[in-house]
C-alpha cells in the first residue's frame, strides 16, 4: 500500500465512532478552552489528559489532536469578538480581528480566522504527511553523538529565543535538566539526590512535573486579577453578537490573497518544527511578514482580512510542524506535544525515528485524526456560534477549581498514587515562582523532556568510543553543536541590540522633555 492509501485506510478507521467520539469531544474541549481567555491550549490538553488514560493510545491521541486543532482556532474567536486573545497564539488576531468586529463585521472577522486556520491547517497537514517520513529517515542516520548534539541544539535554541533574557532562558533549561538527574542513573541505577525520600527513588515522572509547572503558572495570573479583570471584560463585551456571514465572500477574502496564505502557512510550519517555540511566536512573526510584504501596510491594525489570515493560517499550520517534530525526532514542538509525548510513553510508545515504521497504525492515525479535526473544528464553531459569547463570559471562580481538580486526577491516575500528586504540588509552587521571577517555562519543559535522553546518548556515545572529540568532528554532530553556540550568540547579540535601542529611545524621550 502506498502512502496515501494507508492514509485513506486510517481515515476510515478514525471515522469509526470509537475514535471519532474522542476526536470530536477533544475538538469541542479545544475550541472552548482556546476561546476562554486565560485558559491556554496547554492547560486544556492537561485537563483532557486524565480522560485519555483509560483509552487506547490512538483514541487518546485523537482527543489531544482535537484539543490542539480546536484550541488553535478557538483562541481567535475571543480575539476577534472581545479583543482579548483566548490563547497566546491568537495575539496577532486581535490586531485586525477586533477592529473588524468594532466596524460591525464580527461574522467576517471570526470566519476569516476560522477558514484561514482550516486552509493553513490543511496545507500544514500535507507537509506533515509528506515530510515526516523523510525527516525520520534522516534521523535514522543519527548515532548517539548526533542525538546528543541535536537535543543540546534544541535546548539552546529554545533557551535563546524564549523570553526577554537569554540567561534566564538558559537557566530555565538547566533547571529542567537538573530535575531529570534526581533518581536512578541510567546505567547502574545508582540513586542520586533522593535525600532518603523513597518516593523519589524513581525520579520525577514527566507528566506531574509538566502539569504542576503549567497549572499554577497559568491559572494564578488570572487569580491575581480575578476581581477587577472579569468585571472589566464583562462590562466591555456585548452579550450577543451575530456571526452571520456569507461564507463565499469570506472564502474570496482568503483565496484572493494566495501569497499571504501560503507564506504565513510556511512560517507556521517552520516555527512548529523548531522545538518548543510554538504558535505564540508563529502568529506574531507571520503577521509581521504579511505587513512587510503588503502593498498597504498602513491598513494593518485597522481591521483588514490579511492580518487575521496571517495570524490564523500560521497558527494552525504550526500544529502540523510540531507534530512532525515529535513523530520524526521525538522532540516536542511545544508544550502540547510534550503532553502528547508523555501520554504516548504511558502506553509504552516512544516517539522518534522508528515511530512510523514500528507504530504505523498510530502514526497514520495521527495524520488522519489531524486532517479530520480540521472540518470538525469548523463544524463545532459553526454549530456553537450562538453560544460563544456566553462561554467566553464563564466566571473564572467556577472554572479554576474544576481545572485544578482535573490536574490532581491527571497526576494521581498516572500511577494510582499520591506520590505524583505531591510532585504536582511541588512543581505548582516552582512554576508560579518562575512566573513571578519572569523565567520562561518552555526551556524547563524541554529540559525535563530531553534530560534523560541527553544523558543516555552521552553515555552511549562515550561507551562506544571514549574519544570526546567525536562530538565535534562528526559532521552533523559538530554542525549542530556549532549551531547551538551560534544560536545563543545570536540571541545575546539581539538582546543587547534591543536593550541599546530601548536605552537610546528613552534618552531621546528625555531630551524632548527639555
Amino acid at each position: 500500500m502506498n502512502h496515501y492509501e494507508l492514509l485513506l485506510t486510517h481515515m476510515g478507521t478514525v471515522l469509526h465512532l470509537q475514535y471519532l467520539v474522542p476526536l470530536l469531544v477533544g475538538t469541542i474541549a479545544g475550541v472552548i478552552g482556546g476561546a476562554l481567555p486565560g485558559v491556554t491550549i496547554t492547560m486544556t490538553v492537561i485537563v483532557v489528559l486524565p480522560f485519555t488514560f483509560g483509552l487506547d493510545p490512538l483514541q487518546g491521541l485523537a482527543a489531544m489532536i482535537g484539543v490542539y486543532v480546536g484550541g488553535s482556532a478557538g483562541g481567535s474567536i475571543t480575539a476577534s469578538l472581545i479583543g482579548i486573545p483566548g490563547t497566546p497564539s491568537a495575539v496577532a488576531t486581535t490586531f485586525d480581528g477586533f477592529p473588524m468586529t468594532k466596524k460591525g463585521e464580527a461574522g467576517r472577522s471570526v470566519w476569516v480566522g476560522v477558514w484561514s486556520a482550516f486552509i493553513g491547517g490543511a496545507l500544514g497537514g500535507l507537509a506533515l504527511i509528506e515530510l515526516t517520513g523523510p525527516f525520520a529517515s534522516l534521523a535514522l542516520e543519527f548515532g548517539p553523538w548526533e542525538f546528543f548534539s541535536l537535543f543540546v541544539f534544541a535546548l539552546s535554541m529554545v533557551a535563546g529565543l524564549v523570553g526577554r533574557s537569554v540567561t534566564k532562558g538558559l537557566l530555565s533549561g538547566a533547571i529542567g535538566l537538573a530535575v531529570t538527574i534526581v533518581g536512578p542513573d541510567p546505567i547502574l541505577g545508582v540513586q542520586r539526590f533522593t535525600m532518603g525520600i523513597h518516593q523519589l527513588e524513581g525520579g520525577f515522572d514527566f507528566l506531574p512535573v509538566l502539569i504542576g509547572i503549567f497549572a499554577f503558572a497559568q491559572l494564578m495570573p488570572d487569580v491575581e486579577q480575578i476581581r477587577s479583570g472579569e468585571q472589566q471584560i464583562a462590562a466591555n463585551a456585548p452579550r450577543q453578537i451575530s456571526l452571520k456571514v456569507s461564507h463565499m465572500s469570506v472564502f474570496w477574502d482568503i483565496l484572493c490573497r494566495p501569497f499571504i496564505l501560503l507564506w504565513c502557512t510556511f512560517i507556521g510550519i517552520v516555527i512548529g518544527v523548531l522545538p518548543a517555540i510554538g504558535g505564540s511566536a508563529a502568529n506574531i512573526m507571520a503577521y509581521d511578514q504579511a505587513k512587510k510584504f503588503s502593498k498597504r501596510p498602513e491598513k494593518f491594525g485597522t481591521g483588514i482580512p490579511e492580518g487575521i489570515m496571517a495570524s490564523e493560517s500560521s497558527n494552525s499550520a504550526n500544529v502540523a510542524g510540531s507534530l512532525m517534530m515529535i513523530m520524526a525526532f521525538g522532540i516536542p514542538g511545544d508544550a502540547v506535544t510534550a503532553v502528547m509525548m508523555g501520554a504516548l510513553t504511558i502506553h509504552g510508545i516512544q516517539p522518534g525515528p522508528l515511530f512510523i515504521s514500528q507504530q504505523p497504525k498510530i502514526a497514520y492515525g495521527i495524520y488522519a485524526a489531524y486532517l479530520l479535526a480540521l472540518p470538525l473544528m469548523v463544524a463545532v464553531i459553526w454549530i456553537g456560534s450562538r453560544a460563544w459569547m456566553h462561554i467566553i463570559m464563564m466566571p473564572k471562580s467556577m472554572l479554576i477549581p474544576i481545572v485544578l481538580v482535573l490536574c490532581v486526577i491527571g497526576a494521581y491516575a498516572l500511577g494510582n498514587s499520591m506520590k505524583d500528586v505531591y510532585v504536582l504540588a511541588l512543581f505548582c509552587v516552582i512554576g508560579y515562582a518562575m512566573v513571578k521571577a519572569r523565567i520562561p517555562l518552555a526551556p524547563l519543559i524541554l529540559g525535563v523532556v530531553l534530560g534523560d535522553q541527553i544523558e543516555a546518548n552521552l553515555i552511549q556515545a562515550v561507551s562506544t568510543d571514549a574519544n570526546p572529540w567525536l562530538f565535534v568532528t562528526r559532521p552533523i554532530s559538530g554542525a549542530m553543536l556549532a549551531a547551538s553556540i551560534l544560536s545563543i550568540g545570536l540571541a545575546v547579540w539581539q538582546h543587547r541590540r534591543e536593550t541599546k535601542r530601548q536605552a537610546a529611545a528613552a534618552a531621546d524621550e528625555e531630551d524632548t522633555d527639555f
Binding site: F51, V405, A425
Partner: protein
C-alpha cells in the same frame, strides 16, 4: 540597595546547585562505562551554577547602572496576592485531606471553598449554584473515572468512601 527578583532567583538556584554538587562527591565512581553516575549531574549543576552567577552579576550591574530611584508602580490593577495565597493554601489542604476524606468529599469541599474564596456568592441563588457545581464536579468526575475510565480515585481512610 536591594536585590531584584533576578538576583533572588540567581541566589536560590546557586544555593541549590552548590548543595547538589557537593552531594555528587558521595556517588560511586564509574564501574562499567567511562563516565560514572556523577559525571552528567556535575556537568548540569555546573552549568546551573554558572548561569546563576551570571544572573546575580547582571542584577548587581543593573543596580549600579540604575542610579535613579525606582519608578512608581504603574497605576493599574494591583495583583491580588491574598487570593493567590488563599488558593495555594486551599489546594495544599485539598491534597493533604484527599487520602483521609476520599476523593468525593475532599473534592466537594475544595471546589466549594475555592469558588467561595474567589468570588463570594452574593445571593442564595449563587450559593446554590456554587454547591451544585461542587457536587457535580465531585460526582461526575468520580463516575467517569471510576466506572468508565477504570481510574481508581483515592478512598478516604477516615471516611472509607
Amino acid at each position: 540597595m536591594m536585590l531584584s527578583r533576578d538576583g533572588v532567583s540567581g541566589f536560590v538556584c546557586l544555593a541549590i546547585s552548590v548543595i547538589l554538587l557537593t552531594q555528587t562527591f558521595g556517588l560511586p565512581p564509574a564501574a562499567i562505562v567511562p563516565i560514572g553516575p556523577a559525571f552528567y549531574p556535575r556537568v548540569v549543576l555546573s552549568i546551573l551554577m554558572l548561569l546563576s552567577v551570571i544572573l546575580i552579576a547582571l542584577d548587581f550591574r543593573a543596580m549600579r547602572i540604575t542610579a535613579a530611584p525606582a519608578a512608581a508602580p504603574a497605576a493599574g490593577l494591583a495583583p491580588n496576592y491574598r487570593l493567590v495565597l488563599a488558593t495555594f493554601i486551599e489546594f495544599g489542604l485539598y491534597i493533604l485531606v484527599l487520602p483521609l476524606l476520599g476523593f468525593r468529599i475532599a473534592t466537594f469541599l475544595f471546589v466549594l471553598s475555592l469558588q467561595v474564596t474567589l468570588e463570594w456568592p452574593r445571593s442564595a441563588k449563587h450559593w446554590a449554584l456554587a454547591v451544585a457545581i461542587a457536587a457535580a464536579t465531585s460526582i461526575v468526575c468520580y463516575l467517569i473515572f471510576q466506572d468508565y475510565l477504570s481510574v481508581l480515585l483515592p478512598r478516604g481512610t477516615w471516611s472509607n468512601m
